[in-house]
Symmetry: C2
């Protein structure tokens, strides 16, 4: 058996770090209270997130929410929140999630100051951020110190296999979901046993009406709002990875399941007897979730377009660094010179129009009948992958922020140079942790 | 409008030919009667087929059946039938359909002498050949002279568009089906109107229980045996061709719909930006139906094998001349160097075995998770079309008579020479009559 305490020790805050976190948090909270008092604003700063719940791994962010009374308008709440944030975080910059917030650093540690509205359990909310303080309360009152270590082990395991984080880049398990899993199932070991034996979707609790309401691969009822699936962000692939890695771990437990995941590194082209192209787009200066959701949309549109054109799609990959890199792999770079156009069934009136359209030598072959359809072979319009890719985005909307820069898309054939690309590194290295 | 009599005139027997046919038939029948009397055999020669029904086009065969009493054994019937056949047809050779028979020539006209058993309508038969004399009686008593011309026009039309003949090579409309269509629908024009407006299958009569019993594209109840579909041989493609050509003819009637179909002619390779290969097999000396059913089976096995190997199938063609030529067209001649092996779902016990099998560097990439499956990319076994084709027949049975010669199969790349092939001519020329 693995001694989880031993595994955890180097990965969780030592006494120094704990003291530092509580010092920073306390001084921020008292600073914010002073400002609110000074300005006569009815609002309360609350420490939330993993540091509040004592489920933080080493070097965690500190998240402080300023909880406003509902008598404030959304605009008031946001502008006051930003002003207070800047006052306590001199290096803070404004970011935008569901509300705008201020993000900065104190003693090298990342701090977020986020305004939100006060709500009670199971009441209507204005933004899902408003529910965060309730999550903190719930976890604090349902997780004792022993089980906090189970949460920490689970987070470490999930980080190691690459499924931790609910952001769109990852589409994995949030910290709150880890906490709910341990609260519901009892321990790190029991959580892994559940994933290892789970067939199909994971639904907690078994009887939740959310299972019928949502089609997500994982459904976990949020105890602070029974109408919300706390696990909605998790992709089928990440559920699958968690299942198989749980099996592998239970089959032969090893500390390697808790080590840092391999870092993505750039790789040059390697020949797979296929056609690989990379499409790059400039990366607008926006939060990751916005970039990733649009970049994933662009990747999906590209893949669908290439398939529509008749190319045989094999795989694709996405990497967002200084630029957005979308890789696509097809079986060949060139299509046949002829394409079969399958026309209408012979027993529909349209079949005559189809024949008239193609009859005077406009086809390479036909019209001819195949089964119950009238068909022709005609010259393929676009045959090469470059031309096909270059038209992928022209008729499509690839998202509010990427659409304006799609004219700057570049198509790279990585086979003609020795240059290394992050997206190729990610693609060639795809592998579960063994 | 088209004057059908004018169209028919050059295509049906003139008075000379009619006289010649009746002379030959009468002298054969009286010759056979003499032999049967001489040998004390209780059997009766009957003229059957189109010449008996007066629905014969120019240069039709003469078919005479010798109808035996059921007290004869099958073996007796067959041996006596062959002996009599040889006696009246000095140049006759033995052929084998459902019974063996003798085929020869008199004054350049093909003659078949076929033994069969006497049966009554709707009774059990030993072979479907035995029903032929009943068809002759039925048609003679249901088709007047005016409607015989409709049958002749229909046959001529179907020959012209390539759907006439129930042999396996054609899978089209038999003469008897043409007669039943005119008897049931009233005229050539009405038959074409029915095909032009028919949605889906053609079923005659509407209420026949055979429609539920058989899945054939055309179901026509045989009036001499209500349990038999007289149109079972007709393929979906030939029904479709008949539908669309009927539409085209009714849209603009023209004598061209009654002219001889274009003859197949050999053509050399023409580049379609695809991969074309021809597989040749020696042709055993057997009747067409036997050769074609096995050659079509070989073609089907080849196509399925090539698809299984991962090639992208486009089309195929079959020609049987001095040799059997099977052509296959795929998008490329070479597959990617890697193949994705999609393993079991992650939540089945097999997923662990799959991982163990592939984990130690045996894969090009992975194991990795895709959706809910565990996958690897591995080196493709066979990559080139020649190797793929050469293994197509090795594990398969391509028919009793072709299987022994499959070792003599040759694979030809027609692109490397100027040689012309009949199968290529048939392939490149595929087109409906316009």
């Amino acid at each position: 058996m693995i001694d989880l305490r031993e595994i955890l020790l180097p990965n969780i805050p030592d006494d120094n770090e704990k003291r530092e976190i509580s010092d920073i948090a306390e001084s921020l909270i008292s600073g914010i209270i002073q400002i609110l008092d000074r300005d006569g604003i009815n609002a309360t700063p609350v420490l939330v997130g993993s540091t509040a719940k004592h489920t933080n791994l080493k070097n965690a962010d500190i998240d402080i929410f300023i909880v406003f009374d509902r008598k404030f308008s959304e605009r008031q709440m946001e502008s006051i929140g930003l002003r207070v944030g800047h006052e306590v975080l001199p290096d803070g910059i404004e970011r935008y999630a569901e509300h705008p917030y201020v993000s900065g650093h104190i003693r090298g540690r990342k701090i977020d100051i986020v305004p939100c509205f006060r709500i009670e359990s199971n009441t209507r909310i204005i933004s899902s951020v408003d529910r965060t303080p309730l999550h903190t309360e719930y976890v604090l009152s349902h997780l004792d110190e022993k089980r906090r270590n189970d949460v920490l082990a689970l987070k470490l395991f999930m980080k190691s296999i690459g499924v931790y984080g609910s952001e769109i880049r990852v589409q994995g398990f949030s910290g709150y979901v880890c906490e709910l899993l341990v609260i519901n199932l009892g321990s790190f070991q029991k959580v892994l046993e559940r994933f290892a034996s789970q067939k199909g979707r994971l639904v907690i609790p078994d009887a939740t009406p959310l299972a019928a309401k949502y089609r997500s691969p994982v459904v976990i009822e949020d105890p602070t709002d029974s109408s919300r699936n706390a696990a909605a962000a998790i992709s089928l692939e990440n559920l699958s990875i968690m299942k198989i890695e749980s099996r592998l771990y239970l089959h032969s437990p090893s500390p390697s399941f808790f080590t840092k995941p391999q870092q993505d590194k750039p790789l040059p082209y390697m020949d797979r007897g296929t056609c690989i192209r990379i499409v790059t787009l400039p990366k607008p200066d926006l939060v990751d979730d916005v970039i990733y959701s649009q970049a994933q949309r662009a990747r999906k549109i590209l893949v669908e377009h290439i398939v529509d054109m008749g190319f045989h799609y094999m795989d694709s990959e996405l990497y967002v660094g200084n630029t957005i890199e979308i890789m696509i792999e097809t079986e060949t770079a060139v299509l046949p010179a002829v394409t079969r156009h399958v026309g209408p069934p012979v027993d529909t009136p349209n079949s005559m129009a189809f024949i008239m359209k193609w009859k005077d030598g406009k086809s390479v072959r036909g019209p001819y009948v195949s089964d119950d359809r009238i068909c022709v072979d005609a010259l393929s319009g676009v045959r090469d992958i470059e031309t096909a890719i270059s038209s992928a985005f022209s008729g499509a909307n690839i998202g509010k922020n990427l659409d304006p820069v799609k004219g700057e898309a570049r198509i790279i054939d990585p086979a003609v140079s020795d240059a290394a690309y992050m997206v190729l590194g990610k693609f060639y290295s795809r592998k579960i942790r063994l």
